[in-house]
Subunit: 157 residues, 6 copies
Amino acid sequence: MSDLSHLDSEGRAHMVDVGDKSVTARTATASGRLTTTPEVIALVKADGMPKADVLSTARIAGILGAKQTSALIPLCHPLPLSSVNVDFAYTDEAILISATAKTTGKTGVEMEALTAVAIAGLTLHDMVKAVDPAAVLGEIRLEEKTGGKRGHWTRDG
Amino acid sequence: MSDLSHLDSEGRAHMVDVGDKSVTARTATASGRLTTTPEVIALVKADGMPKADVLSTARIAGILGAKQTSALIPLCHPLPLSSVNVDFAYTDEAILISATAKTTGKTGVEMEALTAVAIAGLTLHDMVKAVDPAAVLGEIRLEEKTGGKRGHWTRDG
Amino acid sequence: MSDLSHLDSEGRAHMVDVGDKSVTARTATASGRLTTTPEVIALVKADGMPKADVLSTARIAGILGAKQTSALIPLCHPLPLSSVNVDFAYTDEAILISATAKTTGKTGVEMEALTAVAIAGLTLHDMVKAVDPAAVLGEIRLEEKTGGKRGHWTRDG
Amino acid sequence: MSDLSHLDSEGRAHMVDVGDKSVTARTATASGRLTTTPEVIALVKADGMPKADVLSTARIAGILGAKQTSALIPLCHPLPLSSVNVDFAYTDEAILISATAKTTGKTGVEMEALTAVAIAGLTLHDMVKAVDPAAVLGEIRLEEKTGGKRGHWTRDG
Amino acid sequence: MSDLSHLDSEGRAHMVDVGDKSVTARTATASGRLTTTPEVIALVKADGMPKADVLSTARIAGILGAKQTSALIPLCHPLPLSSVNVDFAYTDEAILISATAKTTGKTGVEMEALTAVAIAGLTLHDMVKAVDPAAVLGEIRLEEKTGGKRGHWTRDG
Amino acid sequence: MSDLSHLDSEGRAHMVDVGDKSVTARTATASGRLTTTPEVIALVKADGMPKADVLSTARIAGILGAKQTSALIPLCHPLPLSSVNVDFAYTDEAILISATAKTTGKTGVEMEALTAVAIAGLTLHDMVKAVDPAAVLGEIRLEEKTGGKRGHWTRDG
């Protein structure tokens, strides 16, 4: 009935069987952005100064979030992550978030990279919401993936 | 040094002390969207048919995610949620996500509503990624909040 | 459309709003049993001897499980448990499990007591499965509850 | 002192060392049932109609629960689950629950299948308890397992 | 049989009933230290420089750890923390850790403060272990507590 | 800029990439102690008597804690633990804690052994704090490790 692999032939959700997939090195990179005001960006950039913790708090939240992916996303498989990186950059009105996850396993790490971005972004949202409740977390998307049967995929094809 | 309340006077992250805030009824509504292809929307809409589980899986993930907010977002306070709702709607190219959280407590439930939207959205992403790895989760934002010292806030002011 | 309170008027799952319910002292007691062989019962009864840990392991698992109820059961509200007890007794072919949970809150603790019994029972199952893979965990049920709008309920009416 | 493998020679609980066991494909199927009233069964069966979420909520809870097994059952080993399925059927007075878990690992997935059944069953209990507080979750048991040193085991021998 | 309140009259572990205790503001401060080499202290002190994340990583881990206390320590009650702070200082051979937790609740927050110190200290241990596997985490102890029936307690009496 | 492997070249925290490390059998043993009063030691030693649960509660907490290591310590990799043991001994004024963790994986299990000791020690602290709030958890340290590129390490060299 469905081309959505997470549904069985009757449309019921299940964790698809990856038991017969091969174990390969896999990576995924995802990105997103928190759009806010120039004033907030200026406050957060103070993080470049000694002792300010905004970005490091969001980074740690993202890394820990990646490790919780299979507990948060119901149909995700548990994966032994071999590395997670979360990085940030700025535009005048946004904090750009990027995360890369790696594993050697039977299924891809796209959701781990996306979850790292989302949790890091929510953490930034939490820290700026008192001064900008209208901030928007958006453009959370996969940028690139490697490994597995389908091999290399990039957003720009 | 900072107007960001999650940082102390030296710029260090901390959970701000809400011990003296009053206990009031509080609500927050957040929204977001997963942008994908018309073909995927057609597949997911099959969820309106008997037995298909796409939206209910994302809904449950969002509700459970809201309850994990203080474990995921480092500086969030644990809150006794009194209700969580997650709803969906469609455009031609997107699944719209809306979540409302309520509590009677000392601090707001904005992050709980935003986390419900983000986790529901990531779950949709997971379910459509095999057919549309380019899907984008975006526009995650607070729409409205009530309760607490600042009272009613809406996005449109 | 439904008399099941966990479904809204369209049949969608939600955490029902308990915001307007009164805060009262509430208790619930649940029970269950792991049915196995007389030989296994004899082995487990060695727990009455110094240093054997079967029942204490199951007890701790049950208490910790009760505290995870709202993370495990999607539509349960988080509750500040004020106490949890898990006790055991024997028949010739079964280990009887009993758990009592208490809170002062807006909703009942039935699920916490039932979850304590289930997790304690699964832990017993785990410990005996090498010698009796056919063991059966059953009769998990509410025995009594107090507090809340409906007041005292007992299984025997 | 003991034939229970989860106890050491002094009767102390430990996680048994599976380091030297071979990595093989392993599956386990468990079952259980929630016994309630014909009226409740009729309400839940409305889940066959569009938009009703009872069974899908319990299914997702069971799948997520299976992934939490080693965090819930103290002496269970963490396992990389390669698939989890949870299915339901009806009798006049009961909802039948069945779960199958698979892994490629050093120890079996019996507890993951049993935990999926128990958490799915507790979730059903939660959803029907307002109309039938006397519902009973029972007959949680292993039906079949494959893989590992002992190979194929079925309940009926 | 016992003066240890976490054991019942038969010596069995239970979560003691705090249902009748009064809700008061409570605070606790705990401390500890990671003893390592002067060389490691010099490396970590680079955290005072822009962009280095050692202490902020440990701080976030400690704050998140405090919020997991009742899930980690079997007989602890869940508490709605109203604030958590984790701070660090240096001697020539040690990183000093201090944590303060606050709540308005029926039982004290000693364990939350102690858990914050322990998890922050373990995180420091993790970050220095490649250069100093012999580092020692010690002197984890309560310094002061306020609130509750016993009122103010300080280590020095 | 740094010799701390958990920081990248700019001093930012990350989970180091272990993808290219070899999979080997690895073990780690850690120890610690809870220092208290002779009176408390006498109470806890009652655990040698039938039915008293102090040490078994701490043991189970330590084993479960070891399995949560990568969720608690931000830059730790998830590891499939193949065994965990937690043991206790007494001096006149202290409870000695020892834990051994094993895995077959790409990185060591030092943090798992140390976390088991710390959580077991915090649990003992919790149980004695009503009679000895001044108890001190200390000397948490690695004793020995095997496996991996560096091979055998012992505290005494």
